[in-house]
């Protein structure tokens, strides 16, 4: 009789331990990125503008990686020598100077057709608490037509482009970005000091 009671006690506490552990796993507080407020400005057309800042050189992560340093197959390169791809990684700051995210910039020549190339710059912006954005000067969203917002006209096509995709807070937004570089000085080693600003104009929710 005592043996049966002990077995029951074992089983009851076993099930209790099992259930409490599963409950703890369900309720376990997974980490969250700190919520940082947006500095966006409302525009009269219903859209919003937000600027992100990169201080040069302190926000650059490492040295820019150029594809030319790798032994890429020769046939992949343009005959005119425009064969370099530049890959850069940065910290991104808000208007208050806080580091709020990461950015990557890749630029290089892409093919327009078999004989002609075109300069393209892709930007990716990731703000852990708010989501990510992909942008490009010459790129196009998957399965979408190229539609330029009216106020995009007249901007430098090398320093501006369309927002292709966004997640979370930036999901389903359309719009464009402009890259502005303000160089204060260049030292004896050729190192530039200044601020690179990514200014985004985003509009409504597109399907």
């Amino acid at each position: 009789m005592a043996g049966i009671l002990l077995v029951r006690l074992f089983l009851a506490t076993f099930v209790l331990g099992l259930l409490l552990t599963l409950l703890a796993a369900h309720l376990y507080p997974l980490p969250e990125a700190p919520r940082l407020p947006s500095d966006s400005i409302a525009l009269v057309n219903g859209g919003r503008e937000e600027a992100f800042f990169i201080r040069l050189p302190e926000d650059r992560l490492g040295r820019p990686q150029a594809a030319a340093v790798a032994t890429f197959p020769a046939q992949s390169f343009a005959r005119d020598g425009n064969d370099q791809i530049l890959a850069e990684l940065f910290h991104v700051r808000d208007a208050q100077g806080r580091v709020i995210g990461l950015a990557s910039k890749m630029s290089g020549t892409v093919a327009v057709n078999e004989v002609r190339g075109q300069q393209n710059t892709d930007w990716m912006l990731l703000i852990p608490s708010r989501g990510g954005l992909s942008m490009s000067t010459a790129g196009l969203s998957a399965d979408k037509e190229r539609l330029y917002p009216a106020n995009y006209l007249g901007l430098d096509p090398v320093k501006s482009g369309l927002i292709l995709f966004g997640t979370d807070e930036f999901a389903n937004l359309t719009g464009f970005f402009v890259e502005e570089t303000e160089i204060d000085r260049i030292d004896d080693n050729g190192q530039a000091y200044g601020v690179l600003t990514l200014r985004l104009r985003m509009q409504g929710n597109a399907p």
């Binding site: 331990g17 700190p34 032994t71 390169f77 910290h91 995210g101 990557s104 093919a111 990510g132």
Partner: protein, 209 residues
């Protein structure tokens, strides 16, 4: 005697639950590459930020990998530059990747993941931009089991359906890949040359408009 039996029962219950969680076969829907996909092996040229291992993903009060950024806003994120190699093992493309912790994970469903943004540039051809969700639970499970002396795996399919059901895959492109869509699948491997960085296999399936 009763207290001892109760204690043993309780501890056995906890251990059984932990093993059930570790070996949980239920998880998010995985996205695997098909026979038609183009595969590239990638390795990191540069890597900055948190490793996004079990310490970071579970928010354990242990020291995060020494490379993690000090700034609070990016402490659970990383950035890297990658070289992609084709079937002939020669460099075919250069890529950048930004990764951050996803906050919609759920321990009970073996789903602890990261959001990954990748930009691939093929010299003088075009570029592709990818967005994906990677469930890192298989990697975490492997790390824990290998510390317990169990046999460990050496590669993990991590591409999975996003818990928020956000569309994942190829999100855009330029040049020869302008406007292309499609999907991709990612398999991670430990880098034998460095304990901290992963290597991987990226399988791309592109679709035209």
């Amino acid at each position: 005697m009763n207290k001892l039996i109760a204690f043993i029962g309780f501890v056995c219950g906890i251990l059984t639950a932990i093993f059930a969680l570790l070996l949980n076969p239920v998880g998010p829907v995985l996205i695997s590459g098909s026979m038609d996909s183009n595969s590239y092996a990638w390795s990191a040229l540069d890597f900055y930020g948190a490793e996004l291992d079990e310490v970071t993903l579970l928010g354990l009060p242990l020291s995060i990998s020494g490379k993690a950024f000090a700034d609070e806003g990016v402490v659970s994120a990383n950035a890297s530059t990658l070289v992609l190699r084709g079937a002939d093992n020669k460099p075919a493309a250069l890529a950048t990747r930004l990764v951050a912790l996803d906050e919609k994970g759920e321990l009970l469903s073996a789903d602890l993941g990261v959001n990954s943004f990748t930009n691939i540039f093929w010299p003088n051809r075009g570029s592709l931009m990818l967005y994906g969700y990677e469930n890192r639970w298989p990697v975490i499970r492997n790390n824990i089991l290998s510390r317990l002396g169990r046999v460990s795996e050496d590669s993990w399919l991590v591409s999975a359906q996003s818990p928020g059901n956000s569309p994942t895959g190829v999100i855009g492109g330029s040049g020869a890949m302008e406007g292309m869509g499609g999907r991709y699948s990612e398999t991670l491997q430990l880098n034998p040359e460095g304990e901290e960085n992963f290597m991987g296999q990226l399988s791309l399936e592109l679709s035209f408009k």
